[in-house]
Symmetry: D3
């Protein structure tokens, strides 16, 4: 058996003998009339569908979402996608010494590192209005901000994805500000930190997140625009900065048809939208290309206009640093 | 000289000898190097462009926007549009006994009648949360609500246009609710009354309105969603109604590409959008058709997909009531 | 077993023991090589897919479309949709005292009530040309008009849906005409009554309707425009009304890309299109929302831009009448 | 003075001394307060705008549309377009021996040649139903068919343009039928002959045509679909051919958004649409390229997606025939 | 058993007992845990899916792509598409005297006939630059040009489809040039011959072609534009013809959104695009209509805007030649 | 007279008394029949239209494009745009000691600085194939590369705009590569340097550039893809790098509808497109915002989706460095 790089890297014909986390479990009835379970099993590298045929009622109860199991089986192909044919399966016990966080992808930075970086950016702000509003809202939602994903799918859909995405964007913003000194960094940093913070209300949690009713009916943009208004009121801040921060949130999707009621109308709003794009796309590209060999094309990536991408064969010569 | 139906109904060759309001006045320099004024002159029926050639500096000062003048001249055609060739022009004086409101179109209902109707609709609400929020916000912005236009152009762009449009929509909502009893009238009436109320911040005033900076950067939708949130906070209201009213405002343009960050997702939001459309379109149609004779087509109406409309020749037989 | 609200309201795990109508029956071959039947079973509340495994040739013959059967089984989930796992199934007999119309949805009004209402609207017309053409065409297609659905899916897809939709639209038109007295009610009522009448040629029948060849190649719009032309010729009517009625039919889909060769160019055409929309959408919304509990979202409704809709939890306080 | 190739070929600086036809005459008032006339003057090669300054009332009366005048002047440039500066102008008299048809472009074939070719195509039809309907409708509208333009602008907008366009299309259809023997030539020829025949009702006449009310409200497609229906009724023809011919007319614009309520659904409808396109585009291209020298680009042609076209410099070597 | 018209014409219930070619073979695992093969079996008339249940490892090895097999079974319906239920299957042997080319569709003309026709068109060119470049590139890629398909699907996706498509287009071009003498036939013929020649690099081979990496990353348009540039360099040709030929290749998809970086800007480019369209569409239409009976509609054809087409019932009366 | 900030900053009413460069000069004829000149006068800050009335033939000859003049006059408003009313005008002489380059905007970096930076980036490449192709093509077009603008309008439309834009993009690429180490900098830098180099053929020169015929018919993308192919051939380079560089050029407009025949399909192509966007947009934003005061909106910027942008009033607090 090959070295275990994670279930996301398995290919048809590989043998599986690992601990995996049950992401979801749905009951079905087979064509022979017997019940079966469709399990989605995951580790940090990805997930795979598995069928447990002739499932007893005990099985149904045991093999539920969020449980860790030990499973043996083969990877097969079903309608062009990998599927795990289960040979044996059992629940993990305390003896196995595995825990949920071992199977859930999370940001490459630790939470306290993320928080430290954001705190530093806030600390460097010179404009007191922007600084106070930003600090107030980060503090208010700090726990969720540091653990929520940035989305339910597509990009940064992992634990702490939201705040990690913010940190990456801040770093890009900093380097672009050096090249374009006309940018107001206070406004830009403030906008970046707050731009997706409404997702802590829009989404249901840090793992296997779905949309809340409020998320569906109002959306994270309107939610955060409101929060900025209320923060300003509570902090008794009244300057143009409130309106500008709200505009940055409102316009960060770039166009009406992408969900922004106003397009960017100030320099920092335009650049924020582009930075958001760059970081989201680089994240998606890296993850898609990570799964293929040089000379191959990736699967189509829906959020990148359904394109598939080529991984060059020529060797990248890295500079010594 | 024909009976004065208003400047909007004049045709090429007609003689003008009337009081008119100067809507705008812009200085230019003619091809002979002499200054001239381009005046837009209006009364309740419409407006006309006029050129005042060889304008002295006195003229420039006198014939400014918001002044009433007495003018004689001929209606001519310039590049397909009516233009008034001025023969004589003078400022109106107190002796002339004319006032600005004589020349400005306003809603067919008096302000107190409008207020009375809206009050009645609010009064009939059974849901206390919706009733209190609606009443609070109407009261907060009452003066502007009752005098502002509904838009700077296209439809209901006259004094009290905003509140008059709301009253018409409420009447349609009432009759549709009788036909579709599944509608929640409290929610629907509340949504209608508040849907465009953000325009009192988005626009600059009741006459010759333009967009404020806040209007341009945030828009009346986000402004009002915020106000509802703040009203709920002040009134200590916490139910689902707050979110539903906010959703009605957010979605009343119907689609992302028309400026709504969320499409309608509840029954009342969908119907509110359609009622808004009906009243705006009927207003535009009536005004366009009012200017042509039976058997003719109107000018193209930009906000109606740039269509022109036909006025039938067959006689409409009205029922005796 | 819970009180039988109809198959459309069943959920996974429910037991079924009812009479149902076979909507369609298609033969397949299972992965074990044995034939099976895929049945769509319906009652007035909706339908459900069922698999009959190991079907004999007798079964194939017996369990054909339009037959009523008595079935026992469980509701299971297959790929996200309900499926009935059949335990026992038999054809209904005369003894069971059930008939096809018990299982087919139809309009909430009786046919004679519908006819009476339409007759009344025609009777009130003052313009003899419009009245005669309308009466002539209603009479010519009366049977089909009163029993056909308004569409094969999406909205009013039930027995008498076509004429019931017309009656609802007439009622809306009447109330809007009171609010907008500039509308010519004769033209508007005539247009409403005739607007979809071409569907009696476009569709194949009143139950399980499909498109005829003529329907596919010409469409109900062109079919009815022709019929109006021919009616006018037979009745020796020659006024502008013929062209206007034809225009109302031609333009009632609103835009070229929605199948109207001409957009609405008269006031009544514009309002007819909007009324058509309101009634179709309210019908779809009510049916979708009827299937979910307060606090839930409906399935996506394809014909409503694929949106799903939320059913509020707050209680609607109905006025006493 | 250069050899007179026609006003459409003149360039800035050229001297004009010719007979021209007044296409339209519109009165204006100059910035010095004096009346002037804006004349559009044409010959077969194109047209030019001219200003007649200080026009007397006599001038206004004399220099009206459809009059032939003798004019001297210079071609100048005004806002990027040619304009004729008039030095002298007078009405042509009988002595001048010029007539309107000298100045109006017409098809390269004589009317009787066109009619002969169409008659031959009809004669060769084998299907009696298609032949009789086609012949009936050609005969009914023969005069207008042979003199009307194919459009008010864009392509074949000259006397007999409609029937000349049909003849060109028939010739293409014939050669394509030899290459694709699966095509039914009777249906295709019938469809081509009738496809735009509704324009004899849609347009106002053979010279300076505009749209009639019926043309605007119904369109030539619906008009002709009706006429085919009525012809079939009068001739007591009942076969599938009636529906197929109507479908060819309905679908000949190719897509809903181009005004066809149904897209082509039979082979001959698809090819008819493409032949129509080819002939219209070749006509527009030839006319645009005819006005420029090798190595130049034409003006943008609106109906060809606003493209401009290059005229190659390399010599075309023509084969000896 | 009915006369064998080919697998593409079979209907549910038909018995199969024939030689067929395995187009592709994919292994799966059934719900009972046993492996099976999904085979696509083809002959010249089309293809059909087949399942081989309980496949042994021997089966997997034997029944691979490009093998010819003898199979018996029934045509059944699975999710609306035909599927072959295999009763017996074996590999064909030499004794069976069948060869791959018996099962692969190819152009209706022999390769040498195609080459002869193209050679004749090249021979007739008068412009030496165009002639030399065209001849050079045809010669360079002759083998692939004569055997490759024109596409991997949609139209002319058969052996020699590429060159056969070119011959058809040349014939259309010739007949159109007679009707529109302004066309430069040398340029047009050269453009047609080269327009898709880049596909010999874009695609992988003549049978079961897929896209090469170069094909995906550069596309046949850029590949051929480069080749023309290089050919001109090698042949030391320097005239405008090089640029014009390159423009014809660049623009032959007609619009940017269809993959042409430049739209057609010379007459011959515009007509080339239209001829390409006609031949591709006629090919798709004939193939789709060939599979249905008169009075029926075809399946939806994706590349024809997803339309389905009607096959008329009326008899086509063919002229005696 | 206020301090001369350049003609682009003048407002209505300002007095002008300066040297300016004639950008273009077009002759017209005034309504009084006398000739006049329309001059576009420019300096580094922008340009202004001026009318020279009653122009003699001497004037026409003297005041031609590329001449420097001394002019006195007033800034007036004509149809919403600034216009200069000329009082006196004369040609500059040697005595005036002014030269063309004083009036033409150019990049903020000197040519030798630009060249040095690009040379450094090429020098640092590790991949010899990419390095050699890049160096070869930069050398081949060095003069034009260093002086041409990046476009004829919209962004970087000044002397050396093309190479300056490249340098800015390289700097962004460098900082992003630090944040995203998966990027291949050799490929990315090579692609950036070459991406717009085809403009040296597409455009006519470094000042007042227009499109060449080759530019219009082939475009800078196809031109450069060809040049890379030829460079590789000359340098006898054969690796995957050639295809990858060509793909980067082909795809740098991002989408087919924006002129890229292939969308980005490798990581570096995607990021190159985004970097191009950022630099172009920042350039346009800075120039538009530079012309307005805090609290104002800019004119609409066509290439930025026709948006206008707001310049905040709040003070930007710059960090001490």
């Amino acid at each position: 058996m090959k070295d275990f790089k994670g279930i996301g890297h398995y290919r048809v014909g590989d043998q599986v003998d690992h601990y995996l986390l049950i992401k979801s479990s749905v009951k079905g009835v087979a064509s022979n009339g017997k019940p079966f379970l469709t399990l989605i099993l995951q580790d940090k590298s990805g997930d795979i569908e598995a069928k447990l045929w002739d499932a007893s009622s005990d099985d149904e109860e045991s093999f539920d979402a969020q449980q860790i199991i030990k499973v043996k089986g083969d990877v097969t192909n079903y309608r062009g996608r990998n599927q795990l044919r289960i040979k044996t399966i059992r629940l993990a016990t305390d003896m196995d010494q595995v825990k949920v966080s071992d199977f859930v992808e999370s940001a490459p930075l630790e939470i306290n590192e993320i928080m430290e970086k954001i705190t530093q950016y806030v600390f460097e702000m010179r404009n007191p209005n922007i600084q106070r509003i930003t600090r107030h809202l980060v503090k208010k939602h700090q726990n969720e901000f540091l653990t929520f994903p940035a989305a339910t799918k597509n990009h940064h859909e992992f634990v702490s994805g939201l705040s990690y995405h913010v940190v990456s964007m801040l770093d890009i913003a900093k380097s672009l500000s050096n090249l374009y000194p006309s940018l107001d960094t206070d406004l830009l940093y403030g906008g970046i930190i707050l731009h997706d913070l409404g997702k802590v209300v829009e989404l249901s949690g840090s793992i296997a997140a779905s949309y809340t009713n409020e998320g569906k009916l109002l959306g994270h943009i309107s939610i955060m625009v409101n929060e900025i208004g209320q923060a300003a009121k509570e902090l008794e801040i009244d300057g143009e900065e409130v309106m500008l921060l709200q505009h940055l949130i409102l316009s960060h999707h770039g166009k009406a048809e992408w969900g922004s009621p106003k397009p960017p109308m100030i320099r920092e709003a335009e650049i924020l939208h582009m930075i958001d794009n760059i970081d989201a796309k680089m994240n998606m590209l890296d993850r898609a290309l990570d799964k293929v060999e040089p000379g191959e094309f990736t699967d189509r990536v829906f959020a990148l206009d359904n394109r598939s991408f080529y991984k060059p064969q020529m060797e990248t010569v890295k500079k010594e640093s």
